[in-house]
Structure formats: C-alpha cells, structure tokens
C-alpha cells in the first residue's frame, strides 16, 4: 500500500507541476485526450501484469495490436464480415495466440522471452502480409463502431470521460477481482513466487501460466481493435511498435516485480497514468520530443529505485530491531 501511495504522489506531483507551468493541462480537451490514451494503454498494461506476476514476460503485444487492427480493417472493408463476426474473429485470433504462447512455455518449457520475441517478429510480418504492407483505414464508414473508441460520457464544465477509459476502468475492476478474490489469482500470485511449492500443493501450475498468456494476448487483441477504431488507420509496419514496452514499464512502475508473484492492478493503473501524463507534459511544456524517452526512462528508474531503497532501509531497520 505504501508503494501505491508513493507512485500516486509521483502522479499528482507531475500533474501539479505541469498545471503550474502550463494551465492548459486542465483544459477539458486535454483532459479528455489524456484519459483516452490512459484507457488505451491501460488495457495492455493490465494484460501484461498477469504475465509478469506469473514471472513471465510478453514482448509480442505491439505486434498483436498491429495484427488484430489490420485484420479488423481487412475483414470489414475487404471481406464484408459483419461487425460482430469481425470482432469475434479478431478476439479469437488473440486467444489462439495466447494459447500457443502458453503451450510453448509450459509444455515445451521454452523461455517466455524467446517465445514472445519470436511472436513479436512473426505477427508484425503477418500484419504487413495481411495488408499488402499498405496503410489502411475505415475511411468514413463504421462511424457507429468507432464510437466504442471515440465516444464519451459528458460531464459538467465541458469535461467528458472517453469510452476507452471507461472500458479500462471496467476491465481493471474485473482484473482486481480476478487477482484478489479468486482461486486463480491466489494460485497465480503463489506460483510467481514459488512454482515448485504450488506444484507440491496439487495445483495445476501449467494451466495457471497458460491462462495468464491468454489474458495478455486477449488484452492485446482488444487494444488492437480500440487503437484502430480510434486512429482510423493501421500502418502495418509501425502501428503498436514498442507498445509492449510501455505496458511492461507501466506494470513495473506500478509495483509488479519481474521476479514474479507481486503486483497490484491499482498500481498498474497509476503506472499507466504516470507514463501518459508525462508524455502529455512533455508536449505541453514544449520540451523537445527527442527528450521524451529519456525523461520517461529517468522517471521509471526513480520510481523503481525509490522502492528498492525504501525496502532496503526498512529491512535494515528490521534487522536492528
């Protein structure tokens, strides 16, 4: 809980500093935009945190986003699929990808890093193949479907909450329940800490791990759909590039340990928010955008090392006591 409080203070500080230096930060349009981006990136942050808690990693998310996005546009515009069928097919593909990752990792005992790195390469190429390596979009069609990403709930004062942010909140609540209130979540946390002890307690560890990869790929697929609807275009060679790293960064900033067995959904939510607000601040404060990655990198390092320093300090006090 201390950790969550720490990153929450970090988030608030960034917001306050940015507002002081440029009051436009609180402008309704800017708030709407920032929330929309938090929602879109938050979806994959939640997905990857399940994998990270199992002590794995998923590097393929960005490519899954490009592939499902490309597939959605192609199915709707070139193959005349109905909207439900197209959505169903995209989610089905992500499910299959997650199952394949999970099986390779649990049954063939391949390292998650390798499996999902290969996925990153393969799905990227497939996305380019599916679109003939052309940038594609919906044009002026499917306005109704695009409301999923572009719609919003109006609030007084000109403010509004974008739909992707609401989707993100709903998924976060489901994820919190899954992680903290169900057998699955308990076993996942236990397994991330000590897989051997979980096996010796009669728990099917392989199935737990497999499901975590399925969750992650499904979230990637959903994000692919939302990003595509939002941007109305897919550039198969670049859409979603590096997004997995944003997701991993948000999860780690939010307190997921890459050693596994540790993580909270609220933390991941705050972690995602920090990254998006930071990007927004860099634009608002007219900081040259080539410094963006450096600033994000430094903030993540500060967030993560503060935690380690605090932990060391606490445990050294414990020893003395």
């Amino acid at each position: 809980m201390k950790k969550i409080l720490g990153i929450f203070i970090l988030l608030v500080s960034i917001c306050v500093i940015t507002t002081i230096m440029n009051p436009n930060f609180l402008n309704p349009f800017n708030v709407h935009n920032t929330l929309r981006w938090i929602g879109l990136f938050g979806v994959i942050g939640i997905g990857v945190s399940f994998v990270i808690i199992s002590s794995g990693i998923d590097l393929s998310i960005g490519s899954v986003i490009a592939l499902t996005g490309a597939l959605l546009v192609q199915l709707l515009t070139a193959y005349n699929f109905s909207v439900p069928m197209a959505l169903f097919t995209c989610m089905g593909l992500s499910l299959v990808i997650g199952v394949v990752h999970g099986l390779l990792i649990t049954k063939l005992k391949l390292k998650p890093f390798i499996v999902t790195l290969c996925g990153l390469l393969i799905y990227r190429s497939l996305a380019r193949l599916a679109t003939d390596d052309q940038s594609i979009g919906f044009g002026n069609e499917y306005e109704g479907l695009r409301v999923l990403a572009l719609g919003s709930v109006p609030l007084p004062g000109g403010y509004s909450i974008p739909f992707p942010f609401i989707i993100f909140l709903v998924l976060s609540i489901i994820a919190m329940i899954l992680l903290n209130k169900t057998l699955y979540g308990r076993y996942l946390l236990a397994l991330g800490r000590n897989e051997e002890a979980v096996r010796f307690s009669g728990i099917n560890a392989d199935r737990i791990v497999l499901i975590s990869y399925v969750i992650c790929s499904l979230m990637g697929g959903l994000a692919g759909i939302l990003f595509t609807l939002d941007l109305n275009s897919v550039q198969p060679a670049s859409s979603g590039n590096f997004y997995e790293l944003y997701a991993i960064a948000a999860a780690v900033l939010g307190g997921c340990s890459l050693r596994g067995g540790e993580g909270s959904i609220i933390g991941v939510m705050i972690g995602t928010a920090i990254l998006r607000v930071l990007t927004n601040s860099i634009t608002l404060l007219h900081i040259p955008d080539y410094l963006e990655f450096a600033i994000i990198g430094i903030v993540i390092l500060i967030g993560v090392s503060t935690d380690e320093v605090v932990r060391k300090y606490v445990s050294s006090k414990k020893v003395k006591a």
Binding site: Y184, R193, A197, V198, R199, S201, N204
Partner: protein, 501 residues
C-alpha cells in the same frame, strides 16, 4: 607403520555449526601411500571433516600437520598449494569446455591473457597418458560418461601436483565397470606415491580398496580398523557404535485396514527396481536408507509430482486415476516435502494463505476464494499445531524453521488426509519443535491416519516407527517389524551388507 611415514595428521578437530556440533575432537593420521577409508552414517561428520582438510571450512580448534609441520588451511587454494585436493561427490567440471580446458582451468599457460593452446594440449596428452586414461583431450566434457568425468577430476588434481587426494563418494553414480576402472586408477596412484582419503558408505568397496578404515560417529572418532580387520561386521559395529537408549516411547495401536497398497512401483530415478509395500490405517511406517537410496522418489511418485514409470498405487475408497498431485489430494494423500522452503511453503505469502493453499479448492465458491473458511482454517491449524505467531497475516518467512514446518503439516491436515507422507519431517528443526512434531504424528496415527515417513535420522526412525522399510539404491532390501528393529539391522539393510553378525 612407523612414525616417519605419517603424511598428514589432524588432531582434535572441532567444528560447531549453529545448532549442531558437527565435529567433536576428531583426530586422524594419513600415511604415505595409503588408501584410507573414512566411514560413518549420514550426519556422522564425514563431509565436514573432509571440507576442513580441503580448506573449505576452518576448524574452531585442533591442529593439522603436514609431514610434521603445522599448517593452516584457510582456503581451497591454500590447501591445493599444500598438495591437498578434494573431489566432490557432485563433479565440478565445466561441461561446455573440452577436457584440456578443464584439466588446467585457472592454471593455463598464457601470455598477456592469450592462452597457449598447443602447449596445453601437449601437457594434457602427457598427463592422461601417465594416468593410463584413454580419453582424447579435445573431447567436450559433456560428451563423456560420468565415470570418465570422474577420471578427469582425478587428472585435474594431479595437474596441480596434489599429493593427497580426498574423494567423496566417488562411485555413487558409476556403473560396476566404471567403478573397477576407478579402483585401478586409484591403486595406480598409490603406487606412484600418492595418499588417498576415500569417503564411502559402501562396505564392499571399502573392503576391496582400503588399507585402513577410520569410522566417525556423531562427529566423534568411533574407531580405526587395520587392513586385516576390515570386514562388514566390524564396520557396522563401529558405525552403529553406542548403545541406543530405548526411545521407543510410542505405544502403537493394532493397525487398521490397508490404506495404501503399492505393487511393483518403478520410479524414474531407479528404472531397474520395482518395489511393493502396504501401509495401514493408524500405522507409522518409517523409510530408512542412505542418502540417494530412492526413498524421496517413492514418496513423490505416490503423490504424483514425479509420476512412476510403472506399477500400481491404490488407495482405499478411491477409484479415480492417480497421475498428478491434484488427483492425489482427491484420493486423500498429503505430502510434506523434503525441501521445506522450496517445495513446502511460499515464504513471502502469509501464514493464513499458506495454510489454505492445498484445501481452498475444496472450499471455493465458483472459483472465488472463501475468506471465512480461510480465517477459520487458519485459526484451527494454528491451534492444533501450536504454531507460535500472534498474527496469521504475517509472512511465513518470519517464522522459525520448526514453525514453518508446522505450517506445511497444517496445510495438509486441512485437507483431512487418509495418508500423510512426510519426507525428512524434522530436518533442520530444533529439539523442542521436533518433539512437538513427533507428538503430532503419534496423535494423527491414533486418529487413524496412515503415516509414511522418510528419515535419515536413525533415532527418529527407531523411535517413531511401528514398522521400517529399508531401501538401498532404489530397492527395498528389507522390512523390519517393531520387534526386529535395531540400528544394526537397519544399517545392515541400508548398506546391503550380506554377511551375518
């Protein structure tokens, strides 16, 4: 032998570890060109003793003399400089490198960091030839058999000009043929002037190769045997040593119906041995044997974490399959594993969560955790096991070893097992907690639970068991009833000694 032939003399070595006195005033002499066997039961202090001679541990008190000169051995390097080399039971070779690289690891001829490969190969060829070892020095170590790797370890010791070679259970993973070859090499080394300290608990091998035997018992000297007195009876007598104080305080009830029946069980670790036995309700059955006898493997196959290759396991009132731990729990089996911290508990999780880890599946509500059950179960087990903690939301790693073990046992009691398997239930636990665990096992047996436990602690086996199954290298070599039970009888079966007393 004359005094002048004494090469190495250790006098009054004492080594205290937290909680145990590993060596208590142990003395030993090693003569020139002698093969000295050091024997003893598990935990007799053999390896501590050897590690002191090899410079890995330092004795708290006592002296070591080499050719009459007092020496201090404070590092492995230091011991090697005095010509003492230890070959560990688990071989320490870099198996991704070739034989030559391993032979001279850390001793390479080099100029400014550039290794002089050709000179090393020539030296390797010469060394292997001197030792009559027929191995190409360019072979990758991973392509060698275990026996050949053992020979490379010996050659490596010769390469650093060792005069005293200490070998810890060198034959434990060798075939009969490889063992014979090893003995030829060892005899050959002695002819060339080396002295060898040979640690083993295989009586036959010691009879064959040793010039003299030193026996340790509970960290003390139990006696020496000259060449002509080395035989099974004498060795067992010295290893068993003191009279056992009769600690058989349990008063077993007559056993009930058969809970577990095993027929021709074959475990992956010992594919050539099939074993059969039964355990009844209310019975406490001990499994004795030396380390590596295959006892843990039997427990793990019954529990399904390491499925058996063949054979049948049947549990009373259970007809389902038994291929994994989940099904084993369905059948009413619990396993308190050998490695508590790795397999038994999740150190960073709370006591409460650990206590419900195995039983929550039976109390879940459509996949959701049952928190009231969890709290109730935790309180119940903490009381039943008298786990010393004021707060069950504390992490298990904050508990003492004994209390951690109680958490593991409590986790299984929550599943109400018909058969409880315990692997080294009191290893690394202080005396007080040991007593509590014994009392608990006794209580469970009285409630009709069938208990099967593995232990390398002889007193524990003798005092706790109603019946003992003894294993030797994957095979059950005997079953002893309470009245037949004695330390000698167990050791005889555990070492598979054939001679009669």
């Amino acid at each position: 032998m004359s005094e002048s032939s004494v090469l190495l003399r250790a006098t009054g070595l004492t080594k205290q570890f937290p909680g145990t006195l590993a060596l208590d005033n142990v003395s030993m002499e090693l003569h020139q060109q002698e093969i000295l066997a050091v024997m003893g039961e598990n935990g007799a202090g053999k390896s501590t003793f050897m590690k002191i001679l090899a410079g890995i541990y330092q004795a708290d008190s006592g002296t070591i003399e080499l050719e009459g000169q007092g020496i201090t051995l404070n590092s492995i390097r230091n011991a090697q400089d005095h010509g003492i080399a230890l070959i560990h039971q688990e071989l320490n070779l870099a198996d991704n490198l070739d034989v030559t690289a391993n032979l001279f690891l850390g001793q390479e001829d080099h100029a400014w960091g550039w290794i002089n490969q050709s000179s090393l190969y020539l030296k390797a060829i010469d060394l292997l030839k001197r030792l009559n070892i027929d191995i190409d020095p360019t072979t990758r170590v991973s392509d060698l058999s275990i026996g050949q790797q053992q020979l490379i370890e010996i050659a490596k010791a010769i390469a650093i000009d060792a005069r005293i070679l200490i070998m810890d259970e060198p034959t434990s993973s060798l075939t009969q043929h490889e063992t014979e070859h090893l003995f030829t090499v060892i005899n050959d080394l002695r002819e060339r002037g080396m002295s060898i300290i040979y640690i083993s608990h295989r009586l036959n091998e010691v009879v064959e190769i040793a010039d003299r035997v030193v026996v340790l018992k509970d960290g003390q000297n139990a006696g020496d045997l000259p060449k002509d007195e080395i035989n099974h009876d004498n060795m067992i007598r010295l290893m068993v040593g003191r009279e056992m104080d009769d600690a058989r305080h349990r008063s077993p009830l007559p056993p009930g119906e058969v809970i577990l029946e095993i027929n021709d069980l074959v475990t992956p670790a010992h594919p050539n041995h099939a074993n059969s036995f039964k355990v009844c309700a209310g019975e406490v059955v001990g499994m004795a044997g030396l380390v590596g006898a295959g006892r843990t493997e039997v427990l793990e196959s019954i529990f399904g974490v390491t499925p058996a290759l063949s054979g049948s396991i049947s549990i009373i009132d259970y007809d389902g399959p038994l291929h994994n731990a989940n099904q084993a729990i369905d059948a009413g089996i619990g396993l308190v594993p050998e490695d508590r911290k790795l397999q038994g508990i999740i150190l960073e999780m709370s006591i409460r969560d650990n206590l419900s880890l195995a039983s929550m599946r039976d109390h879940q509500k459509n996949g959701f955790l049952n928190f009231p059950y969890e709290i109730e179960n935790s309180a119940e087990q903490i009381k039943a096991m008298s786990i010393a903690t004021p707060d069950d939301t504390k992490e298990v790693q904050l508990l003492s070893g004994g209390n951690q073990q109680k958490v593991v046992i409590g986790k299984w009691l929550a599943t109400h097992p018909k058969l409880l398997l315990l692997d080294e239930p009191t290893r690394g636990i202080d005396v007080g907690a040991k007593g509590e665990i014994y009392t608990l096992i006794d209580k469970l047996a009285k409630q009709g639970v069938a208990i099967l436990f593995v232990s390398s602690d002889m007193e524990e086996v003798l005092s706790l068991s109603d019946r003992v199954i003894v294993m030797h290298e994957g095979q059950i070599t005997g079953k002893l009833t309470k009245s037949e039970l004695s330390e000698e009888a167990v050791m005889r079966l555990a070492t598979n000694a054939t001679a009669t007393v």
